[in-house]
Every structure is written in structure tokens, then in C-alpha cells.
């Protein structure tokens, strides 16, 4: 049998599949559907310093091959998360990545400090949420601000918890923002977050989403995500978590070939509740059929000449 285990920033992942932030809550609901300890990791719903109620509904729209969401970071706040949710997540023996979003540098730093003292495994810095004004995209769109927020957050963390910076695709150059995160001291980057988009109802002449715009995800964004992972891989030395429209094990392999060490699966969870589990099983089969002994061999092994 192939070795699916991946060591990433010093953390051992059972396999390269992580449930992506915002599609998996804090794992409780999916744990009723299947054994979530099968996952390589779980990235939590985006956490803010204080509780947030999120945007008004409708928060979801369907487009061809994808969905638009505008949840708006509804979450119980970092303290309640640490108190009531983290323990449950940790009890499943999978890597727990806490996704954090702030509206000021101070908020990011305070959350990072609190989480770095907890039993969480990693932090994913969400500077790319397109759905709230203060959702971090102001930090995540310019290389200088990415470097500066990464450095500040890293400095406020205690111990040696790795910091992943989640990159927005809504930027001029993905390699530049990836380099900025690396220079700021990020241990890894994850990409891509959703692409800002919108949907219109021609009968009512209104936008489908109450928030007007939302984040596009799903299979329709995969080619863009792959290109961005490919570019980022050539620009930075730190490892990459690839995501964007992964529905099958083959999709996950494509991201790994382009340079991802791990992948995140988001929208697919909403379509099929056991999507992550099926992708893990599919990866095992792919390795077996293609004579891959260690899945990490795939990372960046795209043949371009």
C-alpha cells in the first residue's frame, strides 16, 4: 500500500486531504455522517475575535459548475471556539488548523496569540475573505500589507505553531503575494480562496445574494486555482496547500503535480457529505494503480518540457 502520510511544517498528516474552512463547520455535523478521523486535517470555519452573526440571506447562489456564497464569517468568536469546539476537533486525531479573520492588525495578533497557546496544530491566516468589508481582504490584496500582517501575527504567536497564510486570487500577481507571505515569515501558504463574483435574477432584476457579491467556488474555478498553485510553487520555497474546485482524487493529484503538498476540499463537501473520504480512498487507488510509493513524490512533479 502506498504511503499517504505527509509531513508538513513538522506536522504529520495521515493523508494530504484537509476539509476546507467554511464548508465543514467545526466538524461536529460531518462526524455524524462518517468517521472524520480519516481526514488528514480540518480547517475550521473562519474565526473572529468577537462573535459575528454574518450576512443576511440569501447567502448562496448557484452558477454553472460552481456556487457563490456570502456567509460573512458567522462564528461564535475565538474564546467560545477555544472553550467549546477545539477539544471536540482535537479528539479525532486529525490535524486542526484554525482559520482566523480580523478587521484590524490588533485583532489578528490577539487571536493568533490565544490560539498559539492552545492545543490547535496550526493557524491559517484568512486575509482573503471577500464577503465582509473588514474580512481581511484589505490586508490580503497588496504584497506590502501581506508581508506586514504576516510578520506581526508571527511575532505575536507563542511557541512554534506553524502559520499558514491563505491567499486571495483577487490580486494582480499571485507569485508576488506568495513571496510577500514568505518574506513576512509564513511557514506555508494555502490557495486559492474564493473568487469574487455575482449572480443576477432576471425575473426580479435583483442580485441573487443579499450581499450582492459573493465568493465563487466549485469545479468552475479549478483551472484558475491550478494555474495559481503552479505559479506560487515556482515563486516560493515554503510548502503549499492547494485548493479550488477539487471534487475527485484526480483533481487533488493535479494540484499536487502543480506543487501542492496538501490539498483542501471545500465545495465538494456540500455536494456530497462524504467527499473528503472518497477523495482519500481515490488517492490510495491512484497511487496503487500508478506505482506511487509515497504520495509526496507527486508534489511539483509536473512535466513541462
Amino acid at each position: 500500500m502506498a504511503n499517504l502520510e505527509v509531513t508538513f511544517c513538522g506536522k504529520k498528516f495521515k493523508n494530504p486531504v484537509i476539509a476546507a474552512s467554511g464548508t465543514f463547520g467545526f466538524g461536529r455535523e460531518y462526524a455524524e455522517v462518517y468517521d472524520i478521523s480519516a481526514l488528514g486535517g480540518i480547517a475550521t470555519k473562519g474565526i473572529t475575535l468577537k462573535r459575528r452573526e454574518g450576512n443576511s440571506p440569501p447567502r448562496i447562489a448557484e452558477t454553472y459548475g460552481g456556487i457563490l456564497n456570502s456567509v460573512g464569517l458567522q462564528n461564535p468568536g475565538v474564546r467560545e471556539f477555544l472553550e467549546k469546539e477545539l477539544g471536540f476537533l482535537k479528539s479525532h486525531g486529525t490535524v486542526v488548523i484554525v482559520n482566523i479573520a480580523g478587521s484590524t492588525e490588533g485583532e489578528y495578533c490577539e487571536m493568533a496569540r490565544l490560539i498559539s497557546r492552545s492545543e490547535a496544530d496550526m493557524i491559517e491566516l484568512n486575509i482573503s475573505c471577500p464577503n465582509v468589508k473588514e474580512g481581511g481582504l484589505t490586508f490580503g490584496s497588496r504584497p506590502e500589507s501581506i508581508e506586514s500582517i504576516t510578520r506581526l501575527v508571527k511575532a505575536s504567536m507563542e511557541g512554534d505553531m506553524p502559520l499558514i497564510v491563505k491567499l486571495s486570487p483577487n490580486v494582480a500577481s499571485i507569485s508576488e503575494v506568495a513571496v510577500a507571505a514568505e518574506e513576512g515569515g509564513a511557514d506555508a501558504v494555502s490557495l486559492i480562496n474564493t473568487i469574487t463574483g455575482m449572480a443576477v435574477d432576471v425575473r426580479t432584476r435583483r442580485p441573487v445574494l443579499a450581499n450582492i457579491t459573493g465568493g465563487l467556488s466549485g469545479p468552475c474555478i479549478k483551472p484558475i486555482a491550478l494555474r495559481m498553485v503552479y505559479e506560487a510553487y515556482r515563486a516560493v520555497k515554503i510548502p503549499i496547500i492547494g485548493m479550488g474546485g477539487i471534487m475527485t482524487a484526480e483533481d487533488a493529484v493535479e494540484f499536487m503535480l502543480c506543487g501542492a503538498s496538501l490539498v483542501q476540499v471545500g465545495t465538494a463537501n456540500l455536494i456530497r457529505l462524504d467527499a473528503c473520504k472518497r477523495i482519500i480512498e481515490g488517492l490510495e487507488k491512484y497511487c496503487l494503480e500508478n506505482g506511487i510509493k509515497d504520495i509526496s513524490e507527486l508534489t511539483g512533479s509536473l512535466i513541462t518540457e
Binding site: G25, V33, N55, P57, I60, A61, I271
Partner: protein
């Protein structure tokens, strides 16, 4: 709660644009279902309708292990579902949500349904056979009127109305309720319908705050199990408004607490 494959046993037209689909879980194992719960059904092979559609469970036949739901064609997803044929396989997750709950002391129960909002109400008859039910059903016009026989058989009284007066009493269902509620004086009300109807209902019930009202809320959903937070419903509790998940904390809420 499980997600699995089902075989379509039937997909019949009830009236123009409204269908009833009956499914059988291919695992053969049937989950226990509470009245007012719903299921989420995939639209097979459609790239423009990736998400499962939530539908209230209309009936559950334990012996045959068949689940049915009724739906109105309102968009691409339901349009494609209406073309699904008997014998086809499709995936779905069930049972989802909290459902209606009738307490022991609540004997006289009034069901108020507007249009396709009558569907989630039907399941309470079987779940609570010892209660006395009164049904008030409202439709736009005669050609929309469906399932009256099913409700009539199980209710001690059925009040039917159409907005244009082409069948039953003329006018909105909420007005028919206003005329009859003092006479019936129920211990509990269960309702479902479009937002304007629910708003009007809230107004009618202002005079009867001692009658609890459970409402089944509809909202666009994604995961259906409470993880993605897409189907928010603003609920006021102790003066504070918080967003609840329709798919998990609902779909049944207290009408008085829901912000419409």
C-alpha cells in the same frame, strides 16, 4: 442522518408545476423520521444545480420503506427533478432538521398551509394519531388546489380557500383563519407558507399570544446538516436577534421568534 442512493419509485404530477416524488433507499435500511423533517435531494447530472434541494418529507411508508416529498417547479433544479423517471437512481440525505413537536396537553391542533406550504404539515397526522386536527388550506386559484382529500380525511374540519374565490372561501388563508380561530380555539398551530402569508399570520395571532405557533421555514441551503451556515434565519430570543440554521436548528421555529 445518512446520505445515500435512492431508487425513484414514482414522480407524478399533482397539478401544473407541482409533483410528488417517492423514493426508496437502496441500502434497504430506513432511518426513523420525525414529522416535519426534510430531506435533501441531488439533481442528477446537472452542472448548473450542484447543490442538493431541500424538501419537507410528505409521507413515510415504513412497511414499503418509501419516502415521498412534494415539490413545485420554481427553477432549474426542480425543473430537472420533474423530468426524473421511475427507476432512476439519485442521492439524498435524510432525515434532516428538527420537525414539529406536539406536547401531550395539546389536543386541538390547527394546521395552516399556504400553497405548497401544506406539504410539511401532512406528516403530523400519522405522527400524532390521537390529536384533533383542523386544517386551513389556501391556494391562489382552483387549478392550484391539491391534496384536499388527504387533509380532509384526517381533519375534523377542513377550511379551503382560494385567493380568487374560484374554489372554497374567497381570499387569503390568513383571513379565513381570522374568521374561524375563536370558534376552533386550538391549543397549538402548525403552519407553513410564503413569507407574506407568515407576516399576515403573525398579525392575526397578535390577538392570541397564548396559542403557540410552530412554523416551518424555507431558505436556500447548501450542506443541509448545519455546517456551512448558508441558510440563516434571524430569530429573536430574550430581545436579542441571532442567526439560526434553518437546516439544523429548524426548519421548525416559533413563529413569534422568527424575524420575517
Amino acid at each position: 442522518m445518512v446520505e445515500e442512493s435512492f431508487t425513484v419509485m414514482d414522480n407524478i404530477k399533482l397539478c401544473e408545476g407541482v409533483y410528488k416524488m417517492t423514493l426508496m433507499p437502496s441500502s434497504g435500511y430506513a432511518q426513523s423520521i420525525k414529522c416535519g423533517q426534510f430531506m435533501a435531494v441531488e439533481v442528477p447530472c446537472r452542472q448548473d444545480s450542484l447543490l442538493k434541494r431541500p424538501f419537507a418529507i410528505y409521507n413515510y411508508d415504513e412497511e414499503k420503506r418509501q419516502i415521498s416529498f412534494c415539490y413545485k417547479v420554481v427553477g432549474k433544479g426542480t425543473e430537472h427533478l420533474s423530468r426524473v423517471e421511475k427507476g432512476q437512481a439519485l442521492r439524498g440525505a435524510y432525515p434532516l432538521g428538527n420537525g414539529f413537536k406536539i406536547d401531550e396537553g395539546q389536543k386541538r391542533v390547527i394546521l395552516v398551509g399556504g400553497g405548497v406550504g401544506i406539504f410539511p404539515l401532512y406528516s403530523v397526522f400519522k405522527a400524532y394519531p390521537d390529536k384533533v386536527f383542523y386544517s386551513v388550506m389556501g391556494f391562489k386559484e382552483r387549478c392550484d388546489v391539491i391534496l384536499t382529500k388527504e387533509f380532509e380525511e384526517r381533519s375534523s374540519e377542513l377550511i379551503l380557500c382560494t385567493e380568487d374565490g374560484s374554489m372554497g372561501e374567497a381570499g387569503f388563508v390568513t383571513e379565513a383563519l381570522r374568521r374561524n380561530i375563536e370558534r376552533i380555539m386550538p391549543d397549538l398551530m402548525l403552519c407553513c407558507g410564503p413569507r407574506p402569508m407568515l407576516k399576515a399570520l403573525k398579525d392575526v395571532m397578535r390577538n392570541y399570544p397564548h396559542i403557540p405557533v410552530q412554523v416551518s421555514i424555507e431558505e436556500r441551503m447548501a450542506c443541509g446538516i448545519g455546517a456551512c451556515l448558508v441558510c440563516a434565519c434571524a430569530v429573536r430570543k430574550n430581545g436579542k436577534v441571532v442567526n439560526k440554521r434553518v437546516c439544523r436548528d429548524g426548519p421548525v421555529f416559533s413563529l413569534y421568534e422568527v424575524e420575517l
